[in-house]
């Protein structure tokens, strides 16, 4: 999918909202305990840290959601061969709900790892699905997400052979506010270069709080 097509899809998404349904604007903020592992042929380098992020979601009931996310933080080395890296990411996502519990999702994101010796930029397109199943009388929602990243452009690296991100967690709802706990994992397996296959992985335990900012009527 070209960037132009993706833009067209995102622009057309509001049209899928049913006229008369109130649009919902939700803001969320989170803090993540992230752990990064990479093996570039010199053993597993481990680093971890706290990442903070935020998201603004425009809900176009009953079937569409659009959101913008931003995440930033620092990963401190946990192994001798690792080094400190600053992480920053912004992303745009769109979701469409074909079933009451299933959302089809797509999005683009760009992430920057800044280390003392280099800056590496990751740009990716993600496609997949997300399941949200309410339980506890509607007071909680079970969430599971699986996205494939068919296009990943990494500075100095080839396109990975496998790029996948998955998450699972529970979100609790208290009227217009919510809180959730999630575990997520990103895995990137790069093709071997000079006999070395680079593997990279970012996992996170995320505590997220959200609030409905405004419900406002569609024009």
């Amino acid at each position: 999918m070209t960037p132009g097509r993706l833009a067209a899809l995102l622009l057309a998404a509001p049209c899928a909202a049913r006229a008369g349904d109130a649009q919902v604007l939700t803001a969320a903020a989170w803090v993540s305990l992230a752990e990064h592992r990479v093996d570039a042929g010199f053993g597993v380098e481990r680093s971890s840290g706290v990442l903070g992020g935020g998201r603004v979601t425009l809900g176009l009931p009953p079937r569409v959601e659009l959101d913008i996310t931003a995440t930033a933080g620092t990963l401190e080395p946990d192994s001798a061969n690792a080094e400190q890296r600053h992480v920053a990411e912004v992303g745009v996502d769109a979701r469409y709900r074909p079933l009451s519990w299933l959302w089809v999702a797509t999005g683009v994101a760009t992430r920057t790892y800044s280390a003392p010796i280099a800056v590496q930029r990751w740009t990716s397109l993600r496609l997949g699905a997300e399941a949200r199943v309410p339980f506890f009388g509607g007071r909680a929602e079970a969430l599971g997400r699986l996205l494939f990243l068919p296009l990943v452009d990494v500075t100095g690296l080839e396109q990975p052979e496998l790029a996948i991100t998955a998450a699972a967690g529970v979100e609790y709802r208290f009227g217009p506010v919510g809180a959730g706990l999630f575990y997520s994992l990103e895995r990137f397996d790069f093709p071997a270069q000079d006999g070395v296959a680079r593997a990279e992985q970012l996992s996170a335990l995320t505590l997220r709080a959200s609030a409905r900012v405004l419900p406002f009527s569609s024009p």
Binding site: L33, E35, R37, V38, D39, V44, S48, V133, F135, F136, G137, G138, R139, A140, A142, L143, G144, I164, A166, A167, A168, G169, V170, Y172, L181, F182, Y183, S184, L185, R187, D189, A199, Q201, S203, A204, L205
Partner: protein, 348 residues
């Protein structure tokens, strides 16, 4: 040719009754003309012929009553009062509504007619005319007559019923009109059906009584009524209590999240990177505890408040809709008109 013969046969069959009608009417017209010319002695034979059993033509009740009336008037003019009274009584017995116009008949004739009325006792009612009556603005009119003063009781009842609505219970003399508002004894619109107007009279002058009956069909002319909404059945309402499987579903949801988190950590993570952190275990534990708490809460409080509220809302909506329907129906019923048509008797 066969068609012409058939037409001739039909024409011949029709000619008899027409001639008979014409014969009586012509005879009556000739007698009336002679009477007007005061040729009484020439008019009398013509009139007697009409009321004679030997008269060969058909005679309607109205023609017979007119013949008897002119016979009485002619005899009164000829100062044969007793005979005049006899003929007037014959006319009154056949039609108690007969009247003599005071401007066309002499005082002697009127006196003889009055005596005939006193010596004859009969009650009668006019046939009801087919029609539509709006009970909000109009009344059903009944007209009855007594030949002289009498105690009269007029009762309207369902055909075959013992008692009914008393419309009149007093003395009457002559023609009287009654107005019925279309309501039954309970104040409600009379139900559709066949009705009998029963008139019972007891003479105040003589020890005789007489009665008359009038049958008619009554039906309601109203816009069709709406059906009220049926009661909400089990299929129309949401379950208000969670089933045992729903409670188990709470655990399943929690365990499902736990399994997904552990699955991501264990199966999706790259084994070459020596694991994927301990966050999955945390999420798995929290999700499992949440599912367990949800299960216990569901078992202790199986009612589903949102379903209870939704069902109450549906019941209220149905109740409001039915009240609106009932109001519209009442409005339509209030506009019901009565349609009346004559009937032959109690039943077919």
């Amino acid at each position: 040719m066969r068609r012409i013969l058939r037409l001739l046969a039909v024409a011949a069959a029709c000619a008899g009754p027409l001639a008979a009608q014409g014969g009586t009417a012509d005879q009556l017209a000739r007698a009336r003309a002679l009477y007007e010319q005061l040729q009484i002695e020439r008019a009398l034979p013509l009139l007697r012929a009409i009321v004679s059993p030997q008269w060969p033509f058909d005679v309607t009740v109205a023609q017979r009553v007119e013949a008897y009336t002119y016979l009485g008037a002619a005899h009164a003019l000829a100062r044969r009062t007793d005979s005049a009274v006899v003929y007037f009584r014959a006319a009154l017995e056949r039609d108690p509504f007969v009247q003599l116009d005071a401007e066309r008949f002499t005082p002697a004739q009127l006196q003889a007619f009055g005596r005939a009325r006193r010596e004859t006792f009969a009650v009668a009612t006019r046939p009801i005319r087919s029609g539509r009556v709006d009970p909000r603005t109009d009344r059903v009119r009944f007209i009855f007559v007594t030949t002289h003063a009498a105690a009269v009781r007029v009762e309207l009842r369902g055909a075959g019923a013992g008692t009914g609505l008393v419309l009149f219970d007093a003395d009457a003399d002559g023609v009287r009109e009654l107005a019925w508002d279309g309501l039954g004894p309970d104040g409600r619109l009379a139900p559709p059906g066949r009705y009998e107007l029963h008139i019972d009279g007891v003479s105040r002058l003589r020890d005789v009584r007489d009665s008359a009956h009038l049958y008619f069909d009554l039906r309601h002319d109203a816009r069709p009524l709406e059906d009220t909404l049926p009661d909400l059945g089990a299929a129309d309402l949401l379950p208000e209590r969670a089933s045992a499987s729903a409670a188990a579903g709470e655990i399943a949801a929690g365990v499902g999240v736990a399994g997904a988190a552990l699955g991501i950590s264990g199966l999706l993570a790259n084994g070459a990177l020596d694991g994927a952190g301990s966050g999955a275990a945390v999420v798995a534990g929290v999700a499992t505890v949440t599912g367990l708490v949800a299960y216990l809460a569901r078992r202790r409080h199986p009612e589903i408040p949102e379903n209870v509220a939704a069902n109450r809302r549906r019941q209220d909506e149905r109740r409001a809709a039915n009240e609106a329907i009932r109001a519209r129906n009442a409005s339509r019923l209030a506009q019901t008109a009565l349609v009346l048509s004559p009937a032959a008797g109690v039943g077919p």
